[in-house]
Symmetry: C2
Subunit: 207 residues, 2 copies
Amino acid sequence: MSHNTTAQNLIIKRYDRQRLTGHAGKVIWFTGLSGSGKSTLANALEVALHAQEIHTYLLDGDNVRRGLNQDLGFSDQDRMENIRRVAEVARLMLDAGLVVMTAFISPFTRDRDMARTVIGSENFLEVYVDTPLEVCEKRDVKGLYKLARSGKILQMTGLDSPYEAPLAADFIAQTHLLPLDEIIQNLLQALSPTLSTQSAVQEQGSK
Amino acid sequence: MSHNTTAQNLIIKRYDRQRLTGHAGKVIWFTGLSGSGKSTLANALEVALHAQEIHTYLLDGDNVRRGLNQDLGFSDQDRMENIRRVAEVARLMLDAGLVVMTAFISPFTRDRDMARTVIGSENFLEVYVDTPLEVCEKRDVKGLYKLARSGKILQMTGLDSPYEAPLAADFIAQTHLLPLDEIIQNLLQALSPTLSTQSAVQEQGSK
C-alpha cells in the first residue's frame, strides 16, 4: 500500500507561474543521432529565447547523465529509463513555468511517444534533427564514431544500436542543408505563437 | 566506457537566468515526520515568495512520487534513491534560477547531507519541522499512523522506521508552538538576504 494516498493541494499552480514569467511553458524535444547538432541547436535556441526574456532551461547529457542519471548505462533498458526520467523532469520544469529544451538521442519511437504523453501533447514540440549518419560520422565531434568503429564502445546509435526516425515530427532541422541561424529563425516562428500568455490563460485549468 | 566523454558548453548559465528573474536561486529543504507540517509550510512559503514575484517551485510526494519516482517504494534503499533524485532535480531547478522547496520526510542524516553536497551548501537551507511524534500522530492528516498502528502499512517513519533528527538545521520550525504566519515571517527573514541579486552576482563563477 502506498504511503501517499491523498493529494496535497499545491496552492501556486502552473498558471500563476506563467503569469509571473509572462509566457507559457513548453518542452522542445530534440532527437537525432550523436553529432547531428541537437545540443548546438538547443543552445542556440536557448540564447535566442533568453534574449526575449523567456525563462528557459536545457536538459542534456551533461547535466543529466552526470547527476540524476549517473546510475544508468546505455543498454536499451537504461536508455528507456534515461528518457523516462528526462521526460518527468521536463514535466516538472514545465509546471514550474519554464521553456525546456531537451537534447538526447532518444532513438526509440515508443520512448518519445511516452515523453509526449507524460508532458502532454499540447506542451510538446518534437524537433527531429535529421542529419544523415555519414555527416554525423564525418563531424564526429566527440570522437565516438571512431571509438565505435574500432570496437572500443558498443551500442552506438546508428551503428550497432538502432535509431528510429520520427515519422511525424513537429519540426525537422536539417543542419547539413541550412545555416544554423535560419533553422533557429524558423524554429522561433513555429514556437512563438504557442508561448503567448494568451496560450497560458487557456491552460488555466491544468496544474 | 562512457558515451559522454566531453563536456558541451552550455551557453546560458545560472547567472544569466538569475539576472532575468532578479533574484538568486535557493533550495529550501523541509524535513520532518509525516504530519509535521512540511507541505503546509512549504506551500505557505511558496505563496509568500510568489507574492514577491520570486520564481518558485515545490517538489513533494505528490508531483515526484507519482511521476519521476513512481518506480520506488519505501524500503531504506528506495527512500535513499528517492531523496537522491529529488536532490538532483532540485539542483537542476536551482541551476534554472528557481527557488525550490522540497517537502519530504527525508529521515536519514546521510541522505540530507548528500542532498546538501549535491546542491551546494551555499544554496541549501535545511528546515527541520520539529513537531513531536505525538502531535503528528494526533493530527494524522493522511490516516497513515492509524494504518501503521493496525499493521496495514509497514516502515512508517517514527514507528517502525527511524527518523534521525537534524543536529544542525539552518532553521527549526515548531508548528505546535508557533502560528504558521509567524513561522513563515521568520523563515522569510532568514531567506531574504540570500535571495538578493547581489548574492547572485557573487555566484557568477558557478554554472
